[in-house]
């Protein structure tokens, strides 16, 4: 801890030295502080508080809206898991857009955390013959079924292992999160993810101001900047308050189930007990917390 402090003051000194040059280009102290902000997991509670206060002010200036930024940690005795009923899903993509709205995903360039794949019934789960750009008048289409894919919240995630700067990690409740202020944007995690669950801000993300969700989590749906990776967090800002993820709420056919694995009374435990489930690409030993099953 002490070492960290001297390191910090060292960095501060450098920052002071380069102040003159930077103020000339329109940088202020806050931006410098943000630049020298350390990895979220090494911050003290006090530092987190300060950062969040600054962030709320910054958002107010930038978007002219009051944001509530939370850094609520994982609850004890909770491990989240998800189950998706393949026999019910009709491929309407309502979840995709509910997710976009809830999580402030960029509209242009477009980012979708959920990809819905249309598959041929005869081929089963076969990615090579699937289509993500299906666009008929009406779904479901004859002879097809639908497989929505988002982050599988693996128990042994590849993406966090490969990150060169520890900007992404698995929380105690199983959610894999990213510190957008620490991510350097090398995209190694995207190469490593077997589910295409990670998305990069190739340009400056754009969300219409009136559509911004101001109820945000630091590690989840707060507005992003260009050049960082983002992903599904099971709606961390909702589930840690005891709500369902928004894709679960919106699903018109009730194909999406969510709950606490450690709670024997939960719906997710009921499904694991009474239905037969499968996980995607089980041969890669990622051990997802996202299960698929056939309800009927």
């Amino acid at each position: 801890m002490k070492q960290n402090k001297t390191r910090r003051s060292f960095l501060k000194n450098i920052s002071l030295a380069s102040m003159a040059a930077l103020t000339a280009t329109g940088c202020n102290m806050k931006e410098l502080d943000e630049f020298f902000q350390r990895n979220f997991r090494t911050l003290s509670d006090k530092e987190k508080e300060d950062i969040i206060k600054n962030l709320e002010q910054k958002y107010k200036q930038k978007y002219n809206k009051e944001f509530q930024v939370s850094a609520q940690p994982a609850m004890e005795q909770v491990e989240f898991a998800y189950a998706l009923d393949l026999s019910r899903c009709v491929g309407c993509r309502k979840c995709v857009y509910a997710c976009v709205d809830e999580n402030n995903q960029s509209r242009a360039p477009q980012i979708h955390w959920i990809q819905v794949l249309q598959m041929e019934k005869e081929k089963g789960i076969d990615f090579a013959h699937s289509d993500v750009h299906y666009n008929p008048e009406k779904v479901p289409e004859k002879g097809h079924f639908y497989l929505p894919v988002a982050c599988q919240q693996c128990r042994t995630p590849q993406c966090t292992t490969v990150c060169p700067v520890k900007a992404t990690w698995q929380e105690p409740d199983g959610i894999v999160v990213i510190d957008y202020n620490w991510c350097i944007g090398c995209r190694y995690c995207m190469a490593a993810c077997p589910y295409g669950a990670r998305h990069f801000n190739w340009g400056e993300p754009e969300v219409p101001e009136e559509e911004l969700n101001t109820d945000v989590h630091y590690l989840g749906n707060r507005p992003r900047i260009k050049g960082v990776v983002e992903k599904c967090t099971f709606c961390i800002q909702r589930v840690r308050k005891g709500k369902y993820p928004s894709c679960v709420e919106i699903c018109p056919v009730g194909a999406r189930k969510f709950g606490n694995l450690l709670d024997p009374e939960s719906e997710i435990r009921y499904i694991l007990e009474n239905k037969r489930v499968l996980v995607l690409k089980e041969e890669l030993n990622t051990q997802p917390r996202f299960y698929y099953f056939f309800g009927v």
Binding site: R7, L11, F35, R38, N39, T42, P109, Q115, L117, D126, F127, A128, H129, S130, D131, V132, V149, Q158, T161, V162, C163, P164, V165, K166, A167, W182, C183, I184, G185, C186, R187, Y188, M190, A191, A192, C193, P194, Y195, G196, R198, H199, F200, N201, W202, G203, E204, K226, G227, V228, V229, L284, N285
Partner: protein, 416 residues
């Protein structure tokens, strides 16, 4: 003080030269400026100016990086045969090999910097000030190895040149030990770079144990190709004495590497095509295209064709010993490996993507311009370093030359 003089003397050296030298510099600078404007666009708009997208999230930049790691590695590995066959100008070969390695590593790091979304956060990767994910992330390993390799080579080559410049005996033991360390390091940097791709189960195209051996074999084709040409130029314009035999031996070693590379690739292809699993898709995309998406096919076949012609030219003793065909072969194999590492290695790893979707990637103008910027600046640096080394090693450029001039100037200055 002495070191400042050494730097001063070096700067004077690189500013003087023939017309051809100035023309070469002018060409490189124009290219660099043209490229820099492309890169400026990328800095403003973000990586959206490239053709990379979520499906193909790494592409031309990381391919260039991989290629240059190979060049950096091979430049030093060439020291091994130099010792074994006891080529006469061994000190010179070490010096020029290391200069090439230094430039290549600097270019490698530049390619990582342009590829990342937040270049200003680069310090997050550094030990102590950042949070390096050591020992888990292969990228951390790679970065660490490259940095160490750069420092080692820079130390040796500066020490050698500095000592010759000051007519001091160089620390033979230290140099020998460091060179001996840098040889396994050279193998190491390319192996770690292969492991970067190799250890991703999500990408079957790379997930083959043969990847690292193939990297090393191909590097031993492209790296020496530059040095063969450089040695011939040096021989013409300086007192650098390297016998034809040494050059032919390098060429012979390149044939072995090409053969080994060919063998590894055939082994890989046999396994993929004969077993015909779903992993075959990536090779199909590379060699024939899938459906209407054939954009990458010309790249792969031009690389294969160039490589094959070079192999034949190097294999037949008559064409290997003819400097015209030898040089054609060297250029061909260099280009072949460049296309292979730049495009043919990376793109099929991502196409089809992990969810089976096909996004057709070819480099955008911004990517080409940014790469042109890095290559021209890298060549510029290499030209300068070689120029300094030539003057010091072959033209007896010494400290005494500078001090004489300084005394001369002092005398001319009016005393008050």
């Amino acid at each position: 003080m002495n070191f400042i003089r050494f730097i001063n003397g070096s700067i004077k050296l690189i500013l003087k030269g023939s017309n051809a030298y100035y023309a070469w510099l002018f060409f490189l600078i124009v290219l660099a400026v043209w490229g820099a404007f492309g890169y400026a666009d990328q800095l403003n708009e973000g990586l959206i100016t490239t053709n990379m997208r979520d499906s193909v999230s790494w592409a031309f930049y990381i391919g260039n990086f991989t290629f240059l790691v190979g060049i950096a590695a091979a430049a030093i590995m060439l020291v091994i045969p130099a010792y074994i066959y006891n080529w006469k100008p061994i000190k010179e070969i070490v010096i020029f090999g290391e200069l090439l390695a230094v430039c290549a590593v600097i270019m490698c790091i530049a390619f990582i910097v342009v590829d990342i979304g937040n270049p200003l956060r680069f310090w997050h990767m550094l030990p102590l000030v950042g949070t390096m994910n050591f020992p888990y992330s292969m990228l951390s390993w790679d970065f660490f190895f490259l940095l160490a390799y750069l420092i080692i080579n820079l130390t040796v080559v500066t020490h050698l040149l500095y000592c010759i410049f000051y007519k001091k005996p160089y620390n033979k033991k230290m140099v020998q030990i460091i060179v001996l360390i840098s040889i396994p390091m050279a193998v190491g940097i390319h192996t770690v770079t292969a492991f970067l791709y190799n250890a991703l189960p999500a990408r079957p195209f790379w997930n083959s144990a043969l990847l690292a051996p193939r990297f090393l074999a191909s590097a031993f084709c492209s790296g020496p190709a530059i040095l063969i040409i450089l040695f011939q130029i040096l021989r013409k314009i300086t007192k650098f004495e390297i016998q034809d035999k040494a050059i032919w031996t390098i060429a012979e070693l390149m044939v072995y590497s090409m053969f080994i590379y060919l063998f590894f690739t055939i082994a890989e292809l046999f396994k993929e095509f004969y077993s015909g699993t779903e992993h075959l898709l990536y090779w199909k995309y590379l060699l024939f295209g899938i459906g209407d998406s054939k954009e990458i096919v010309p790249y792969s076949w031009s690389s294969i064709t160039m490589g094959f012609i070079a192999f034949v030219l190097f294999l037949i003793p008559k064409t290997r010993k003819n400097f015209v065909t030898l040089n054609i072969g060297a250029v061909l194999i260099y280009t072949s490996v460049y296309v292979e590492k730049g495009i043919a290695l990376i793109i099929p790893g991502f196409t089809p993507d992990v969810l089976g979707q096909i996004y057709v990637y070819t480099p955008s103008m911004t990517e080409i311009r940014t790469a042109a910027m890095i290559f021209s600046l890298g060549f510029l640096l290499f030209t300068f370093l070689v120029k300094i080394a030539i003057a010091i090693v072959f033209e007896n450029y010494r400290i005494s030359d500078i001090s004489k001039k300084e005394k001369h100037l002092m005398r001319e200055m009016p005393t008050t």
